[in-house]
Subunit: 356 residues, 3 copies
């Protein structure tokens, strides 16, 4: 290194990360632990399995954690998390592990499929039976879509699907809807038909991106909020929805439009959700070559951008310092959302509720 | 995922995992901490080094932990475990790490030989000297039989051999005998010659399977209990016992029979121990092609099956729901046995004994 | 294993590791927390950034920890360390992790570059922004010299450079100077010109060895102590100092001699610092073929040998049992030095000072 660098830094955070937003969300939702108790013996496999009221209580609990992070440091004391990332990840793994540590729990990590019994030919059902003896909760990510299901049947502790092939990534979707409600807390009140529609644009293809898939499955549980959705894609995929999702969207009474031209539609959007990278087995294809957000994009003035990250060229760093940037707040909020969900799964809700 | 899965699960455990068995074992052995104190400055290298009375006290302490798991959450507070698995493992590593976490200790893991100083040519003696500064206990597994011995000489903290090549795996054997005594607590009382013999069958070859090797070495310390052993193998190995084990067995006054025909002998056995996979360097050979346990095997009605797991085709999943299945209880008990041993090694016995 | 091994060991430590030395250092420096407070919002990138008085207070705090290790077990409670070793390491990683655990903190480890977002093309600036949400401090080692700088700009939590390519390894240098002052506590008092010079020999090349580079940068902050330095090398590197270091040495008023003949100069040296291994990208070259320390080396009777370890042939194990061996004490002290630095970085100084 040549010359002394400027090594000083500030702990101060941009306003978006402050606690004004979670506090307002906290006020908008009344606490009701009854809707959280059913989470105590469920595996978290799909965005489909959540009821609207349970979702609101999860968001409220996440907001409670985010509004006052240092207050809750012991709810998971004595609990052990098995963090099994057979498909590599830093972001999601550290998000879960940070959430668990923040609440006072202990962690055992598996980060390399090659070092596991699976490499020796052991069945995932036997792996699940083993995990019963070692921990209190499992988080699993694998490139194989069936893995969490194969493990599920022998588990007597909860498992969270942290991404199974191209299928789903439910906790990412929970974090994303949480972020939207933090941005506009009034959305949690059932909206009347004459209120202005929230225009959502999603750049991506559900059948190829588990994040988008899970997100849509959650959005349709709030048809009064998310009733104007445009999917923006390059038209190269025939069936962009994948199994059953079209029926689910229809049943919710929502019309999802499609567009191949980002520039044509972006100026109307309140929320621009971009997720340009799709993992295909052990490599990735970059979807975003023709769709890119930067300072020349004609965004609505009040529009927010969301991205589950990691990002590539599809989301310009020039947007980071603008008020459109809600993707960093999205990552921050994800830790608190996971804290809320994990607390409920391992039956420690009683340690964090105001009224039990 | 197509269609909502059934995501609900039960935390209830089968009766074998209940605390009736450890509680009865607890009653059969009188606590005596004097036999545990010598463990405070020993490395755990071989099943040979344990005295019968020390073993009984370890089993009693393990049973104490298993009878009331939530009672002991702090004995290892402030202690650091160095979990060094140079040979890949998930099962044994998580078993040790879970044990250490359950007792309130902290852990540092090494799971990839390639990232260690050894890859740079550092001697294991120097690695041991380094570990002295960083932790309070080492657990080591390596494909090289000499590794724990090379590390031992410079260590001033205890090391547990968690598997060294084909040589030994002492804590697995401790867990296995613990399981047998949980199953039949009356066995801990010295048995008279006229009492019915416990017939044990071991499917495997000591010279090629460290688990079987260590198991036999422990069994011969209870010659009044384990005096009717049959080794069942395919005859392809010339010297099935390996160095010195034959003399040890003779000195204990035990006759070990051999058989090449599982069907012919299995109907008499009270305990059927199967361990069909042998690790040879970085690959494994499947020993069990001609020896398999399934629902057609003519097991004695009261017989129990044990397997250190992971299992392959040699042990059918159809047996899992039968009362013969003591291999899952075996895995569960192993955590508590390791909790007992680790507590003694790092001089925290005083925090768990009734009388010190 | 044939025959029972001698498995007993002693916890007793050689006198060099006792607490007599840190206690004397503690007495020689008066506590003054004001010099530690500026560390609360600095990244630790280079040895250049430390003031002399801050160094002395860090050494005092390290000595306080080393003199009574069990006294301070909770200062980092609730704090999370992100231990990111993109370049493999066991020694430095475990040293940091042990330090953090000893003080009661929690850790998340990244030990394989291939499993990170960087493998997916994510920028280090984005990785830093992610880390802000997950932990309270980052330790980073990478073969790429620019990595900590690229991460630094987006970080709102402190980062410690644990080795960036060939550039620097500041905490190793801090530990090394700490070791020297533990050995001779009187050196911390400003020395007058007529006092005997401490003769230091460094076997190595600053431009190729980050440890040596950082060490020299710290030594020149004590020109009254380190004013007689000889660099011993084989002459194969043209510019042995690298960027700017020559000017820094001149500005401090120190003359550094060079020698190609270890035998010729070693008999005068009080401190012999050897560091013979240089990492070049993913392989290493062994520098030490022509420079070796063993029992035939004509060392001054009172000379001490230092080596950051891991060692190879350049430092004979025959020297381990001699009083010249201060390299093991050096490794031991490094944990306490890191405890001191980490405590200051995450603003927990108040929990360990006598007077705040």
């Amino acid at each position: 290194m040549v010359g002394a660098p400027d090594v000083f830094f500030k702990r101060h955070e941009p306003d978006t990360y402050g606690n004004a937003h979670p506090k307002e969300l906290l006020r908008q939702i009344t606490e009701d632990v009854d809707y959280l108790l059913p989470l105590a013996n469920q595996h978290i496999m799909s965005a489909d399995q959540f009821k609207r009221e349970t979702l609101l209580q999860l968001f409220r609990l996440a907001a409670k954690f985010e509004a006052n992070p240092s207050r809750f440091s012991t709810p998971l004391q004595g609990k052990i998390l098995i963090s099994a990332f057979y498909e590599p990840s830093t972001r999601t793994r550290l998000s879960f592990e940070s959430a668990w540590h923040r609440l006072g729990g202990d962690i055992m990590s598996i980060t390399d499929r090659a070092t596991t019994g699976i490499a020796k030919g052991e069945s995932l059902a036997d792996v699940g039976e083993m995990f019963n003896n070692y921990g209190d909760c499992v988080v699993l990510r694998d490139i194989n879509e069936k893995s969490p299901f194969e493990m599920m049947d022998s588990l007597r502790i909860p498992i969270i699907n942290a991404g199974n092939g191209l299928d789903e990534h439910p906790t990412q979707a929970l974090s994303d809807i949480y972020t939207i409600f933090k941005w506009r807390p009034s959305l949690v009140k059932r909206r009347r038909a004459n209120q202005p529609r929230l225009k959502v644009g999603i750049i991506g293809v559900p059948d190829k991106m588990r994040t988008v898939r899970s997100l849509l499955k959650l959005m349709i549980k709030f048809p009064d909020v998310f009733n104007d959705i445009t999917l923006i894609h390059d038209g190269s995929t025939k069936d962009i929805y994948g199994p059953r999702l079209t029926e689910q969207i229809d049943e919710a009474g929502i019309t999802v439009r499609e567009s191949h031209n980002l520039e044509a539609v972006v100026g109307d959007l309140d929320i621009v959700y971009i997720n340009a990278i799709a993992w295909i087995k052990d490599s990735y294809e970059s979807y975003g070559k023709s769709f890119k957000l930067d300072t020349s994009t004609p965004l609505k003035n009040s529009a927010i951008i969301m991205h589950p990250l990691a990002r590539g060229e599809e989301l310009s760093t020039d947007l980071d310092e603008t008020h459109h940037n809600w993707y960093f707040a999205q990552a921050r909020g994800a830790v608190f959302l996971r804290m809320a969900l994990l607390t409920c799964l391992v039956q420690r809700t009683g340690r964090v509720m105001d009224v039990v």
